[in-house]
């Protein structure tokens, strides 16, 4: 009887030690689920989801505080991917957070720009170059099209230009295959 209790206690202590050690040794920094969600999000950093950037939204989803259908730039496809990752049913985008738009980049009308730097402060990815009382310009390759620079501009000199399709960006379309009618449908 005593021996049995002793064995059980020893076992418990040994396993406890191993578990305690591995909890320290194999500690995972950060939230791996939030990382995975963040990798799916489009990184537009537009805040349309109601969170200040993609990372906070990812963390909110991971904690279950936000729904998966609040990201218009990610579109239906993004929702589908998130649903797959989290093992939930995909749902249509929440219209309250906006609707998907064609990919665009911001464009500053340099004739109108007064060099106030307000847009530079608003840009979440530092894609606007310029200085006080100097003309500003968008670094198009780094612009995510988040539109956050539009409201602060006091002279409304920023517009969103949809990215036109050119040769390097051209994609083959999904082939449309004319299927042969095998059986004539009856009736009119």
């Amino acid at each position: 009887m005593l021996a049995a209790i002793g064995v059980m206690v020893l076992l418990a202590v040994a396993i406890g030690l191993v578990l305690g050690w591995s909890a320290i040794r194999f500690k995972v920094e950060g939230n791996p689920l939030a990382e995975k969600i963040d990798a799916i999000l489009p990184q537009t950093q537009c805040g349309q989801c109601g969170f200040p950037g993609c990372r906070p939204y990812a963390e909110a989803i991971a904690k279950g505080e936000a729904d998966i259908n609040q990201c218009p730039p990610g579109g239906e496809e993004g929702v589908k991917k998130l649903a797959e990752l989290l093992g939930v049913e995909p749902k249509p985008l929440d219209e309250a957070h906006g609707t998907p738009k064609p990919k665009s980049v911001a464009f500053i009308d340099e004739q109108t720009c007064i060099g106030c730097t307000l847009c530079i402060q608003a840009c979440p990815v530092d894609a606007i170059s310029g200085a006080a009382k100097q003309m500003h310009t968008i670094i198009a390759a780094e612009c995510t099209g988040c539109e956050l620079c539009l409201p602060p501009c006091p002279v409304d000199c920023i517009s969103m230009v949809p990215i036109a399709e050119d040769l390097p960006h051209w994609k083959w379309k999904h082939p449309v295959v004319m299927m042969k009618k095998i059986a004539e449908t009856e009736g009119a």
Partner: protein
Amino acid sequence: MSRELFKFKGGVHPPEHKAESTSRPIHAAPLPKKLVIPLRQHIGNPAKPVVEIGERVLKGQMIAAADGYISTAVHASSSGTVTAIDLQPVPHISGLPDLCITIETDGRDEWVAHAPLDYQAMEPSQLRMQLRDLGLAGLGGAVFPSAVKLDPGASHACTTLIINGGECEPWITCDDMLMRHHADEILQGVGIMRHLLGSTEILVGIEDNKPEALDSMRSAAAKLDFAVEVVKVPARYPGGGAKQMIETLTGRQVPSGKLSTDIGIQVFNVGTSYALARAIHHGEPLITRLVTVTGHVLRPQNFEVLIGTPMHTLITLAGDRDGTTGVLMGGPMMGVPMPNLDVPVVKATNCILVKSAELFPPLPKALPCIRCTRCADACPVELQPQELFRFAKAGDFGRAQEYHLFDCIECGCCSYVCPSHIPLVDFYRYAKSEIWAREKDKRAADLARERHEFRQFRQEREKKEKAEKLAAKAQAARAQAALDQAQRAELAAAPAAEGAAVSDTDAKKALIAAALARAQAKKSDAAPKNVDQLTSEQLHQIEEIEARRTKIRELARKPLESEEKKP
């Protein structure tokens, strides 16, 4: 026939239709009035224009320079004036325009100064730069910059050099005609390649349906001072593909996702070799190429064409006929339909195939895939086309990649044998470009994330720096005040002993005293100017206000005094 040949899996035997265009000699196409020369004719970065609108250029003059390592230059095909540098239609299935340089020719066809290169005396890297500046790119179809392919790399292991004379696509005969008439120059080019790559084994693979080309190449090879083995290979589509030619000649397969150079083999098309010989021995950049014009035309034949010549002029030369249903650039298996015929001939244009309803009857409508796997039997790269089709159609690109979608050479054998007439290759092209686009989006998202995170880090850092700066400033001011206080104490010959610690309160008091003194001084400096002629009533009011002010001042001073008394 000493060499043992190997057989690649799959392949098909479409009707050849080669005799149509080989019965006539090569004709030089006349100089067109206008040349439109695209800057993106090769794989890699498009060339950068180095001429201006209105500038007169000579034949062979560089009009756009290579931009980066994987790029090559573009040259004026004839002398004339640059009239435009803008977006023009190019031979691409999308019909989208691309940046081109338009030259109005003057008809004099005046050459720029050019001279042969002494390639044996040159540094290999310098020679490759020269070849890049001479606009050399592979003429077999992929148009990969030749200078890059002629770099054996650090391993120096390109022991086998294969010259690809396999022209397996039906209708096309430009390589056949080139081998028949310019075998010597092709082999001169091979000598230069051998010099750069250090190859010890040189094989020329030519299909058995080109006996004239075989004879001419063999007799030319016999005259050389190095060994070149001209090998007759059985004609089977797509035996002219680089990887299929390697397998036929050496029995070795290029592993998935690797290059032939990884197994010590480099492959060049005969046209590239000819262009290389013209470049080195005559100093001529790549400004012409042979183009087969065939199909539904009166006189199918091969033309020597200046790059930039509009396609419709060639079709007119060959005799256009009624009942044309479309034009392909390339052959019937891999060719791409041209959106219009104003597009220019480019370095990749090997054939202009005019279609008619009799020669190319429209494909019957597709039926559903019955998974008969005839496509898998025909696939020369041993893929599972029926599975790839299923995944591509469903948008399951991850699975398509697992099934080695990117090993597909788009040869069209699967579509050719499909009993349901499904345009399978279109689905693979769609899936590939969709995957590339997604990878590009992913890279853009990663960049945005990185920049956003850096911005947050920077804002955090700036905040901290600002706080530190303020703290330092406050500290400095306090120290200064303390010093002032101490000096004042000394001046007043206060009984306080030297070196006595000056308390914080003293410092504050001194600060306030100094500020008050400054305010007093300012006040006396700037005497009010509107107090000269006032009524007694107004004066009285002022006095009242002054009295109130003194009272407030007294009140304000009190807590200070009480503080003073505390210690």
